[in-house]
């Protein structure tokens, strides 16, 4: 029996090996290499000046106002877009879940924005808000150059993000809705709970894991936001995000050391968000068990 178990275990590892190797090659190696590079002064323009400087790159970034500004912008974008997506995603998920007619068609139609390439979506929004070619100003009777001011530019970026990714949020929430047993809701109805009470007291608590997963996915995505901002403002008007900063350091300045350090810091940010959510996620699970 024992022999068989260990054999199976070995087979399991063998079967996993290709995937693990591939993951190590395509993720672990670049991450470690970026960590290593971030300890050097290494400008691709002047490779002969490459020198080991320890954590100086990190010190330089963390004492720079540019970094904190970009981090602040990223957090504004992340928090506002994810919150609004959650609020909009719920009704959308309920519609997708409860629709009686053309269920497939409704679900497919909802998902169209998410299926679109982000660059294309961002360009479409850019044209829509353009003062000369766009329709938004005409529609609202305004003469606003939306992308030339900080707050209106933020607004357009957030709207683009919401439009693009709310369907994804709704999809994840819908998966959570299917977890809610139908008889439980029926029972609550028999007990006289109205729709709002059923939603708050039964559906939401049961869906908590699904909500947290959806929030985690979207927060991680939103924290690394790049393409929408790149297309809409290129970081002008104080809308620069941390990913854009990494791009500028890497691609524009060819500063591999500093750029790697920015990437590592973004990675740490992502890690912190994950830990925060998983802790919250775990806590909510155990809480649920204790309560029961």
């Amino acid at each position: 029996m024992n022999q068989k178990q260990s054999n199976e275990r070995r087979l399991g590892w063998l079967l996993c090996a290709p995937a693990v190797t591939a993951l190590l090659v395509v993720t672990a190696y670049p991450i470690l290499y970026a960590l290593w590079l971030s300890l050097f002064r290494y400008d691709l323009r002047f490779p002969e000046q490459r020198a080991f400087i320890g954590i100086d790159n990190y010190v330089s970034i963390l004492t720079s106002e540019v970094w904190w500004h970009a981090l602040g912008n990223t957090l504004i974008l992340t928090i506002s877009s994810v919150t609004l997506e959650l609020l909009l995603g719920f009704p959308l998920a309920l519609i997708m879940h409860h629709t009686l007619f053309w269920r497939r068609a409704v679900r497919a139609a909802t998902l169209i924005p998410y299926a679109m390439v982000t660059v294309v979506a961002a360009l479409a929004w850019k044209f829509a808000f353009d003062p000369t070619t766009g329709f938004v100003n005409a529609l609202l009777g305004m003469e606003q150059a939306w992308l030339t001011q900080r707050w209106s530019a933020f607004l357009v970026i957030i709207l683009t993000e919401i439009w693009k990714t709310t369907p994804f949020m709704a999809l994840l929430l819908m998966a959570g809705l299917t977890l809610v047993p139908h008889d439980l809701i029926q029972a609550a109805r028999v007990d006289g709970a109205n729709a709002w009470q059923r939603f708050i007291k039964i559906i939401v608590p049961l869906m908590k894991p699904a909500i947290l997963v959806a929030l985690l996915f979207r927060t991680l995505d939103a924290f690394r936001i790049f393409d929408t901002v790149f297309i809409l403002t290129r970081g002008a008007q104080g809308t620069e995000t941390v990913s854009l900063l990494g791009y500028n350091t890497f691609i524009v300045s060819l500063n591999l050391g500093l750029g790697s350090a920015v990437s590592v810091l973004i990675f740490i940010g992502v890690l912190m968000i994950s830990v925060l959510f998983i802790k919250g996620f775990g806590a909510s699970l155990t809480q649920g068990e204790n309560a029961e």
Partner: protein, 415 residues
């Protein structure tokens, strides 16, 4: 039998692959790729065609257009050059890239006969922009410098200094607006460096390695910028204005002054002939009364990529592209100022540019932007620190600016 066939097939496959690799850049008539900003008037492509024809089948110049925005041009070129791309032969270089490209070993130095050809009869300032560490790195092609444009129907004489101009503009009321470049980009850096130079200061010291930014001229410059941006004479959209926004606003007739490049002159005549009749010109306003203003020089130099398979031909072709007659063509068709001094005396040029003498005197006093391989980082440091101009606090921003530039010089500053 099978093995023979297999060997044969393998041989064919290998030779096709090898041929494919090697034939990419081994044509009967070598093609020289000229990476340069797109030029709508066609002056560049005509020059390329003529040089190809005159070469007697020695080479064929193919123009590869780069984006219009200088930052994006640099981004594309730098990415390719850092990867050693051998498809680039001749590079249309903004004057501010010379030191960076030379130091990185991306362009070849000019020597001997072609160097003499590239230097012959050139104005000093454009020539200096192609020189780094006493070595010529590019052939001066076109140049550029800002003038002051004003409405002769509202102002009788051009104001001599910024202070005077702001006062006059404020007294004009609604139509007194001064158009300038205040967006966070190279234009803002150019504005700052020019005003600083006019105040007698400079960003880097003579060695080009250390920060200068003397206190008195820098504070003076910052307070003029703040005074201007907060005055009623500044356009409300100053913080997002580039050269073209300034031009369009001036052509609409609601402004009385504008600092801008000479491309605004043919444009005004085409788009707003009524206003063009009343446009006067003068040197860029001075900072100190009686001390001539100094504006930074712009323009395009042609360099030869270090990775070209045909360096000799590329030098020859670049020298041909920049000769006086092609500069004349670019000046007349494309509105690009020539670097050959004698052209400013030619009647045709003087008809196209009635302000040729003001241009020449401005060019004679022109100042170079810091000639350091780290210029891009320094420029970003300046424009980021000083944008938006209306929020400048001279004392505080003097310290922030020094710190940002020092970081950039250490290659450690985040942009």
């Amino acid at each position: 039998m099978i093995s023979i066939r297999l060997t044969l097939a393998l041989w064919i496959a290998i030779s096709i692959i090898l041929y494919g690799c090697s034939s990419q850049r081994r044509e009967a008539i070598p093609t020289l790729n000229w990476y340069v900003a797109g030029e709508p008037s066609g002056a560049f492509s005509m020059a390329a065609k003529r040089c190809s024809e005159d070469s007697g089948q020695a080479y064929k110049i193919e123009q590869v257009p780069l984006p219009a925005d200088a930052d994006q041009q640099r981004e594309q070129l730098v990415r390719r050059l850092a990867a050693g791309d051998n498809s680039i032969d001749i590079i249309g270089m903004d004057v501010i890239w010379t030191a960076e490209f030379a130091q990185a070993g991306w362009i070849l130095p000019w020597t001997g006969e072609t160097a003499e050809q590239a230097k012959a009869g050139r104005l000093d300032a454009p020539l200096q922009s192609a020189i780094y560490q006493n070595q010529l790195w590019a052939a001066p092609f076109t140049t550029n410098i800002q003038l002051l444009w004003y409405r002769t129907d509202r102002v009788t004489t051009a104001p001599a200094t910024w202070d005077e101009m702001i006062l006059v503009a404020e007294s004009l009321g609604k139509t007194g607006t001064i158009q300038a470049q205040g967006e966070r980009y190279e234009g803002l850096t150019a504005f700052f460096i020019s005003l600083l130079a006019s105040n007698g200061g400079s960003v880097l010291d003579v060695s080009g390695k250390h920060i200068s930014l003397a206190q008195q001229p820098t504070l003076q410059t910052l307070s003029t910028m703040a005074r201007f941006a907060n005055s009623s004479a500044a356009d409300r959209a100053l913080a997002t204005a580039r050269e073209d926004q300034a031009r369009l606003a001036f052509e609409s007739g609601h402004s009385s002054f504008m600092v801008n490049y000479p491309f605004v002159w043919p444009s005004a005549q085409r788009n707003a002939p009524e206003i063009a009749k009343h446009i006067g010109w003068a040197r860029w306003p001075a900072a100190i009364e009686g001390k001539p203003s100094r504006f930074v020089i712009g323009g395009l130099n042609l360099g030869v990529s270090a990775y070209t398979p045909y360096p000799q031909l590329a030098f020859h072709a670049a020298a041909c592209l920049t000769v006086a007659r092609h500069q004349r063509m670019a000046a007349e068709l494309g509105g690009l100022l020539p670097t050959v001094a004698a052209l400013y005396d030619e009647p045709e040029i003087r008809t196209t540019y009635p302000f040729a003498d003001v241009l020449r005197s401005s060019l004679n006093d022109a100042v170079q932007r810091p000639q350091t391989p780290l210029y891009n980082d320094i420029s970003l440091a300046i424009s980021r620190t000083l944008h938006p101009m209306r929020d400048i606090e001279p004392q505080k921003d003097f310290i922030r600016l020094r710190r940002a530039i020092e970081r950039a010089l250490n290659s450690e500053g985040l942009l």
